[in-house]
């Protein structure tokens, strides 16, 4: 079948024919195929055919596809707009000139689409493009840009993110900026954020999760005490986030500085904790205090818990410092354990030499 005949087949009453016509036009890879595909997709009722058409467009090289995809971003149909974003993403760095045009568009929705495309593209110009988006006057464009900040080679970019985090902008934007600092921030950024939110207790609820995350990734040894104290007073819905921050901070600064008495707070909380995530995190943290008899006995007891996640948490905790008694209990548990994942965890723990 010639390409022209395939174009005609795009209008076949048979959905299957239309799908295969789109596929064949894509495989032909010729520029002349672009406009017939675009014209068809704008009137096509079948989702399967629309997907095949966009798949075909992705295979046709050249700038025509990029230009048409950018035009489709103004479509009334969000399905078409979203597919157009995917199409531009598939073009990689070839789409960058079009992205620059989109980021300068008068319509903020188009500028936001530009950032959405950017999220999946590898280009040496990424920081330059993100800087443009971060300077946008529309809050949604800036938020989308902040979500995509993941590496930082320029101090200027970091400073711009920090300025957003320290600003009085919409809380959603500030939170996005704080989270971005969790990925690219440095010690100085962390200290400035902590000057804005001096204590966890005084930090407004809306910002707590992001500040806790930042504390976990960028905090310092002295922050451990604050986290420990905050755990005793925070709202229940925040405990998992506090424990996460605690855990992340410990990974970086080490547990040597934690006084043994801290385990009492963690242990006291355990029986009343109903959240799976929280119990697991607490058990793992208690592993740092496994040398304390009361903690050790509690961990051994949790290895028999009917909840699989408890058993995994206890095994992980005891594995930190595998004492003889723990090894014996693990061997006994292995005889009874039916869950394959827990069995694997036990076997691996026992295999580690003292």
């Amino acid at each position: 079948m010639s390409l022209e005949e395939t174009f005609l087949q795009l209008s076949s009453v048979d959905e299957c024919d239309r799908i295969y016509a789109a596929e064949d036009i894509g495989l032909a890879g010729r520029r002349e195929g672009v406009d017939p595909l675009i014209q068809r997709v704008l009137q096509e009722p079948s989702q399967a055919v629309r997907e095949a058409i966009f798949g075909a467009l992705a295979q046709i090289p050249g700038d025509t596809v990029i230009e048409r995809a950018a035009q489709l971003l103004s479509s009334d149909d969000p399905g078409i707009r979203n597919q157009a974003v995917g199409l531009l993403q598939s073009r990689g760095s070839a789409a960058v000139p079009e992205l620059r045009r989109l980021l300068a568009a008068a319509d903020q929705d188009l500028r936001k689409f530009g950032v959405d495309v950017l999220s999946r593209i590898e280009t040496p110009e990424i920081e330059d493009l993100l800087e443009i988006a971060l300077a946008d006057n529309d809050v949604n464009v800036v938020i989308a840009a902040l979500e995509n900040v993941s590496q930082c080679h320029s101090p200027a970019l970091r400073q711009r993110v920090l300025r957003h985090a320290l600003s009085d902008a919409h809380p959603m934007l500030v939170v996005a900026a704080i989270e971005a600092l969790g990925r690219i921030g440095d010690t100085e950024c962390y200290r400035q954020i902590r000057q804005k939110f001096q204590t966890l207790e005084a930090t407004p609820a809306l910002y707590l999760h992001s500040v806790l995350k930042l504390l976990g990734t960028n905090g310092e040894t002295g922050d451990l005490l604050e986290l420990r104290n905050y755990l005793t007073i925070c709202e229940p819905n925040l405990r998992a986030a506090v424990l996460d921050a605690f855990r992340n901070l410990l990974v970086r600064v080490g547990a040597a500085s934690i006084p043994d008495v801290w385990w009492q707070d963690l242990l006291a909380r355990l029986p009343e904790t109903t959240s799976l995530a929280e119990r697991y995190q607490t058990l793992v943290l208690l592993g740092h205090f496994g040398h304390c008899e009361q903690v050790f006995e509690m961990l051994i007891a949790y290895m028999q818990s009917p909840d699989k996640v408890d058993r995994l948490g206890a095994i992980e905790a005891l594995s930190k410092n595998l004492l003889v008694n723990a090894r014996c209990t693990m061997r006994s548990r292995l005889q009874l354990e039916s869950d394959p994942e827990v069995r694997q965890a036990l076997e691996d723990a026992l295999r580690v030499k003292q």
């Binding site: 959905e15 299957c16 799908i19 295969y20 495989l27 009722p45 399967a48 997907e51 998992a240 995190q281």
Partner: protein, 283 residues
């Protein structure tokens, strides 16, 4: 493999990344399983902090190479009869009766099932047993189960139809009696089990071969597409769409999401299972 300690939040992020990119879902209790595999990948990449590994997956893996390397560790290749039993239950108790009733009402006594990527045949004979048990009068129908694979050696095993204890360990005892005979220490499928089965070579990436597959009521392609790249996976599912009759069903692996690959299928709930169906209306 040693384990690394991911925080609960990191586990959540990892599961989300795996679902978004591979369409595989893991429940929130699969903590150790995933940690261990992440540890193996981190060792290969000389990374110490799981946060760095997650950053790599989320932001620095545009080609999907690292996610594919992880996929190879988190999926199992083992095949056996009645694998993913709950899904087969939905097929047997809900989907198959629905299709048969509809076709009966239309006076169309034909049933075609495709086991795509059938490997050594465990799935196709499983389906053959189920169909005959659920619908004994299928013998009066024009019924066919087409099993295809690219691996000639595996196809040879499927044609031979001889299986060890491990492959048949989940076959109900009464089915073993009805559909197998003993052959030394192994089990051989009987003529009854083979009666509607046809086995042939087919490459899921071969467009012209795939286009010949039409008019199926069910397509099974379980735990195969996870090893394909995005474009090939999408192309295969597009072909499955065309291969199916309207209101036909597509079954990928029970933790694989069809919806990640195509939104052209309609999601339905059958008992406790979610299944994907080609829309019934002709578009």
């Amino acid at each position: 493999m040693s384990s690394v300690q991911l925080s609960f939040e990191q586990h959540g992020r990892l599961r989300r990344l795996i679902y978004d990119q591979l369409g595989l879902s893991f429940d929130n209790q699969k903590i150790y399983f995933l940690s261990k595999r992440v540890a193996a990948r981190m060792e290969c990449l000389s990374l110490d902090d799981p946060a760095d590994y997650l950053m790599r997956l989320a932001y620095n893996d545009r080609s999907g190479t690292e996610m594919q390397a992880l996929a190879n560790l988190i999926t199992t290749n083992e095949t056996y009869m009645f694998r993913e039993y709950e899904q087969l239950e939905a097929f047997a108790n809900a989907c198959l009766p629905e299709v048969i009733a509809r076709k009966e009402a239309q006076g169309n006594r034909s049933l075609r099932i495709w086991s795509a990527g059938c490997s050594s045949g465990e799935e196709v004979y499983t389906l053959a047993m189920i169909v005959q048990e659920v619908f004994p009068t299928i013998v009066d129908w024009d019924a066919q189960i087409v099993a295809t694979d690219i691996d000639e050696q595996r196809l040879g095993m499927a044609i031979a139809g001889v299986y060890g204890e491990r492959s048949v360990r989940y076959v109900p005892p009464e089915y073993l009696d009805r559909y197998f005979t003993r052959q030394g220490g192994d089990w051989r499928v009987t003529k009854r089990a083979r009666s509607m089965v046809s086995i042939q070579s087919l490459n899921l990436n071969d467009r012209s071969q795939m286009r010949k597959m039409r008019a199926f009521d069910f397509v099974f392609c379980r735990n195969v597409l996870i090893y394909f790249d995005d474009a090939s996976r999408k192309a295969a599912v597009d072909h499955f769409y065309n291969a199916l009759n309207p209101a036909g069903f597509l079954f990928l692996g029970h933790s694989e999401s069809v919806g990640r690959i195509s939104s052209a299928f309609r999601l339905r709930r059958m008992g406790e299972q979610l299944v994907y169906m080609k829309p019934g209306e002709v578009l």
